[in-house]
Amino acid sequence: MGGDAQGGRGSRRRKRKMIMSKLYTYAACARRPSAVDDEGSRIGGPGFSRVVHTNDPAAAAAAAAAGYYRSNKISTTKYSAVTFLPKSLFEQFRRVANIYFLITALLSYSPIAPFRGSTAVAPLVLVLVATMVKEAIEDWRRKQQDIEVNNRKAKVFQDGAFTQTKWTKLRVGDVVKVEKDEFFPADLVLLSSSYDDAICYVETMNLDGETNLKLKQALGVTSHLQDDESFAGFGAVIKCEDPNAQLYSFVGNIEIEDQQYPLSPTQLLLRDSKLRNTEYVYGAVVFTGHDTKVMQNATSVPSKRSKIEKKMDGAIYLLLSSLVLISVIGSVFFGIATKDDLRDDGRVMKRWYLRPDDTTVVFDPKRAATSAVLHLFTAMILYGYFIPISLYISIELVKLLQAMFINSDIHMYHEESDTPARARTSNLNEELGQVHTILTDKTGTLTCNSMEFIKCSIAGTAYGRGITEVERAMAKKKGSPLIADMEIAVDQPAGRSVVKGFNFADERVMDGEWVNQESSGVIEMFFRLLAVCHTCIPEVDEVSGKVSYEAESPDEAAFVVAARELGFTFYQRTQAGVSLHELDPLSGQQVDRFYKVLHVLEFNSTRKRMSVIVKDEEGKTFLFSKGADSIMFERLSSSESSYRESTQKHINEYADAGLRTLVLAYRQLDDAEYAKFDKKFTAAKNSVSADRDELIEEAADSLERGLILLGATAVEDKLQKGVPECIDKLAQAGIKIWVLTGDKMETAINIGYACSLLRQGMKQITITLDTPDIIALEKGGDRAAITKASKDSVVQQINEGKQLINESASESFALIVDGKSLTHALKDDTKGMFLDLAIGCNSVICCRSSPKQKALVTRLVKAGTHKVTLAIGDGANDVGMIQEADIGVGISGAEGMQAVMASDVSIAQFRFLERLLLVHGHWCYSRISSMVCFFFYKNIAFGVTLFLYECYTSFSGQTFYNDWSMSLYNVLFTSLPVIAMGVFDQDVSARFCLKYPMLYQEGPQNLLFRWSRLLGWMLHGVGSAVIIFFLTIASLKYQAFRSNGQVIDLSTLGATAYTCIVWAVNMQMAITVNYFTLIQHICIWAGIFLWYVFLLAYGAITPSFSTTFFMVFSEALGGAPSYWVVTLLVSVAALIPYFTLSVVKTWFFPTYHNKIQWLQHVAKDDDPEAELGMILRQFSVRSTSVGISARRDAKLVRVSSKGLPC
């Protein structure tokens, strides 16, 4: 039992146990699915082969040695020490460009190479090593997190006692003891708990995001094992299913003393869920490490690649093919020229100085065709400079730095939880600027998952001055100072401490003032109902006497707290009933009252109401009932209607303000009526027939009629700060938002309202299987029939919805789907039409969806629209969609790290998404696009000069420039400014990014990385190359270039042309960049400066290394005025076309960011924002139909259409 050590606390504990027992008997979770029985027979068969010898160290050791079970060690890393080298190299060479460079490097040691081998290998090695170092660092961080998890401590039964062991050491079959608020280290079969009836409460936040506690109960046969010692002689064999990913199913049995008992999910405690409200439990480990259901659910970390990178690959293919093309052209000419060198059967040599009569195959006129083919390889090595080898590594470096900026953005730092934003995988930064659809979890992401009692309507009078997030957001938009003032009054109540779950303020009812209200009787009843009609359990703090509550759902807690704060303190629940401290309106004194609870008519989604039947101290019997307005209003007595209308009006107002409303009503029962009901109800409960539930329902239904309305409550499912504004901004930016939640449909819809995804006037298309005929079928139990009927129903509903959309184009639609329907809608043959429907709707809400469904929906959107999807969530239940989406965002700071671990970016609050996308996303996108374009430009400009020079060497493959100078082109002279642009450039400042959210559309529409832009830059590269090459060679032709008569030669002409390229490219950067900081200056000038340093330094070392560039600058070029004059001419001339074109473009065909730049340039602070906002919205891609702005607009339309002044 509880054990003597517990002493005085024992009695209290026992009481609570009893209460809990009382509660769960009518909780649905105790009911076992009937399917278990037939599944039980499959144990031992395929898929159900696991045999676990519990508490048998020998067997566990043997199993471990045989490698039968996986250890409890988890690893989420991409590489291990052994696989790192091959695997990361493999990853590297998945890129075509790298394979190309590898081949080039290998070939460059053969005689066909146009330059020294080392100069081709060095850049490749540099690039590969840099990339691998980056990979290694990223993986190391992951490993650190794994180590932390693996080294957590658990108590394991060993040698007659429970000892602390690391999680990794846990083996299948071990018996572990888990104490309150600890995580389960593996999947356990619950053996017993600190409660007599072996129940325990589990929080599965990490698994499904739900914070309400789940009840688990051990089998009776093991429930006696209540202390450490009792495990000494314990042994059992568990046979169960093999590891699988189904969180909610478990099939197995346990064999104790040759008796078999079936196991069900009720006995299974899942890894990463947490023990709550239970002192300790004992459990037997059945699945460890990667076998656990959580880990099975976690699909392997996919390596995500951004769309830009994919397109970039396309561009590289294009370059490769143009490279091959010009190589082929060159080879043909080379073949012709070579063949021509030997005439008349070799007796006459044309270019005798090349000795065509005595040559290797590479230049053999007799085998000109072969020579030409070999030359093809030479040319492809030579023109390798078309392909920017350093592009990938530069992009990775840039993204790393961009990620650093995201991490250190002080505007995305959450002060309260001390969490900054974290870009965990940096290779998706620019994808943040292209998001088309956001799929968001609700609980913990949009909401804080706390309920606050904020308003109520009693007897037709609305009370409560609290302001919801939605109202606040709308008010802020309108600029009403009134609300802001009211807020002060509420948020700063003199001397009142803040109560969780209670945000109600109204001097008319607070502090006992309600007794002076007109309808104080109704108010009293209202509060009493709140204090009585629930299933909460009070917990009295013995020191302060304060009461707190444990509730199944946060809403219930909010009601009881509200009742407490308003003077009806519920402080005790016993088997018999509930005890309250009440404020007596007559005496004005606190009195204790006891209400005997006769029956609890529980809440479920069809009933949508909950009732209790109580008997007060005077012997009067009451039925207290609360429920959804749709249900409750039809159950009110027809005679009583004095404030029905006003209540309904209030409810509508509340709903519009994003609140969850419940209608409260009661009825006094006379004894005869109650006795009749009691008989009927008890009989129904005790019946064993299939229609038991129906009978209960019917009994309850008959009683819950003719109710007297008390009023309505409004509870705010507290949105996270700034969520409505954020959603509004995102909607204005043209991003679609889908909510995927595990919650009930009603809750989801409420939240939809709260964050303005839904609003009145929006047509709701609901797809649900909670229809009477389907429910009827389900009772029948014929699975095939159910499936077929369900599917037909879903298809029909989808079609109806589509029709509705097609009929009215002007209206906005919302799609609400429940989990069951989703199962059918996501089937291969229906998902296409489902997606069509969903795309036609302005907001989509999927409720009751499982983690897998969330992932499937994400996949559907991703694959169906070919647009970038972003999934955001906080719990382990969101891991699937986070990994499936193009970008996964995890909400950090809350409990559980699964979502964050799986995510690409983690932020502390949903509202940071706005800055993450609109500012960082846009910047990264525009930076990376510009950077990639520029890379192509500069490499083409360089490569084309090489080709043009080939035309003057009869395509022999001679390089124009010195080989080392060529391989440093990408590394030293031109990369710095490009990287600086990729990291620091800002086309539009952060403030203007947020001010003009539509700017974001440049990303989803991919305006900055269109083929036309890319090709334009490539063409510009070709143009620059032509200008540079021909101007240089025409200026320096063959005449002397110095006053003492020397003529230009290969090395000097090459060096001059190279100088011109370095200048042109760096100056091009100077006129391309939008945001000219000191860093840009340094990088641009450094590029040019480095070139001269290189010329001097390289020219100064021994000619055996520097070859043609020996003293080329110090002796030949530096002192020649013509060199400098040519440099000036060529670099300026190369820029003029671009400059002219961009002037014409920005003046006459400006892009969106050009326009905002103009605005920014002339901006005055007295810009009338409101007017601006309207204009902006008028010009938006599609008028926003979700968000506060849309809601306000709709309201404006509604109001003005009624002819009222607004």
Binding site: D491, Q492, R915, S1035, D1049, Y1075, F1110
Partner: protein, 446 residues
């Protein structure tokens, strides 16, 4: 501060005020202040509600208020609130100065108690990390564009004029002789002529000086259609051998001129040396010999670092096929300047190489008799041979292209400057007109 004298970002910043004082984003100023928060703990209502313990799940702290530094509040109040970036405008603007604290009062037991809890993960504020470095945001304003074009034009035209004048100053005499020096009976068989060792290759040419030529007068030979830049040709040398007498045996990459028939290494090896130009010229002006100075016609660095003083030609040009000039085996390579000049391979198929210098002024209408021996075979590949006498200016030899190019580019810029001015006058564009903020130009909305 709130009046924000610098105006909005970008507002006071043109490209001409090159990048420095353009930090005028008011938010920057504000933020800098709020990082210095060291305000004391709020005196009031810092106690967590006891009831909050009943919600262990609800980690989200209930905020009483979150207030930054009071000065920020003040500053913000005087600005229009709508100009705040939303991420910033999160604190309710009701706190007066003096009441503020930077402590977030939370319902969480613990963090409320120790007040100003350390914010370990708070990103450090700096202009760099917040990407707010002072910067110039160049915008192509009409004024700017026109002045840039005009400036380029104004610089380029004079440079062009000066370059053109320099090129005009150069006096150049070019004489193509490869044709004329073939005996009339051999014009149909030039190849036979050049290959026939028995035919005298001597030839006399008469040159007339058209303009005064100041000494030094440079003597060049110019070859056409000669691919000194062919990869096989360029590679065919061994620098180590030329530099170091001990490495005479090193003839790698010299194919096919590595060894003599009996296997001795050739110095200097390779095709370049082998095909050394071997025409010679001598000049007389009315019976006065004009000496051609052949010293210092090569780069000093070549003589000193690439061709050694103690390396002598050996086994050179004694194979079956004689390419070009023979070398005097008693003269070290560093003094064989014709070779050194030749070994600096030309970049283009048409090139000149310095033959020597004449240190005598030539007068207009002087007649110069050139005695040359026309040995070099350009006939097989149809190349031309020209003799060039030229003076040089600071810009080098005669090439008017550079000057014209400058004039054209400069002229174009001035033209563009006028064109854009005109465009601006005719079709002025209202800057920052919101009506330009239309997406309708890109109807590809989806």
């Amino acid at each position: 501060m709130a009046s924000d004298p610098a105006g909005d970002e970008g507002g006071g910043c043109r490209l001409r005020s090159i990048c420095g004082g353009c930090d005028s984003d008011p938010d920057v100023v504000l933020r800098r202040l709020d990082t210095n928060t060291s305000a004391p703990t709020a005196p009031q209502s810092a106690l967590p509600s006891p009831s909050s313990s009943s919600f262990p799940n609800q980690q989200e702290p209930r905020l009483l208020f979150l207030s930054p530094n009071p000065s920020k509040q003040q500053a913000r109040k005087s600005r229009k609130p709508r100009d705040q970036p939303p991420a910033l405008a999160e604190s309710p603007p009701f706190l007066g100065p003096g009441m503020a604290s930077n402590v977030a009062v939370t319902g969480n037991a613990g963090s409320g108690a120790d007040g100003d809890a350390p914010r370990r993960n708070r990103p450090k504020y700096s202009k760099f990390t917040q990407q707010e470095l002072p910067a110039c945001k160049p915008i192509l304003t009409p004024k700017w564009v026109v002045s840039v074009f005009f400036l380029v034009g104004v610089i380029f035209v004079p440079v062009g004029v000066v370059s053109l004048l320099a090129a005009r100053d150069v006096v150049e005499i070019i004489d193509r002789y490869d044709h004329a020096c073939v005996p009339p009976n051999m014009t149909d068989n030039k190849l036979g002529y050049i290959r026939n060792q028995t035919i005298s290759k001597d030839c006399t040419r008469t040159l007339r000086v058209k303009k005064d030529m100041k000494q030094p007068i440079f003597v060049y030979y110019q070859l056409d259609n000669f691919y000194q830049n062919h990869r096989r040709y360029v590679k065919s040398r061994n620098d180590a051998q030329l530099r170091d007498y001990k490495k005479a045996n090193q003839t790698t990459s010299c194919e096919p001129e590595r060894f003599t028939a009996d296997g001795k290494p050739i110095v200097p090896c390779g095709l370049i040396a082998w095909s050394l130009f071997n025409d010679t010229y001598s000049f007389t002006r009315s019976n006065e010999n004009l000496t051609v100075d052949k010293k210092d016609i090569s780069w000093k660095s070549d003589r000193e670092h690439k061709f050694a003083k103690n390396v002598y030609p050996s086994n050179f040009q004694n194979g079956a096929l004689i390419g070009g000039k023979m070398l005097n085996a008693s003269i070290p390579l560093s003094e064989q300047e014709d070779l050194i000049v030749w070994m600096r391979t030309a970049a283009l198929p048409t090139f000149r190489k310095l033959y020597g210098r004449i240190s005598v002024d030539l007068k207009v209408n002087d007649t110069i008799i050139v005695k040359l021996s026309n040995n070099y075979n350009t006939y097989s590949f149809g190349g031309k041979k020209k003799l060039v006498l030229s003076t040089a200016t600071w810009l080098g030899g005669k090439n008017e292209f550079l000057g014209f190019a400058y004039l054209i580019v400069g002229g174009l810029c001035i033209f563009l400057a006028f064109a854009f001015t005109l465009l601006y006058v005719i079709k002025p564009r209202k800057l920052g007109d919101h009506n330009y903020l239309s997406w309708n130009r890109h109807p590809s909305g989806r």
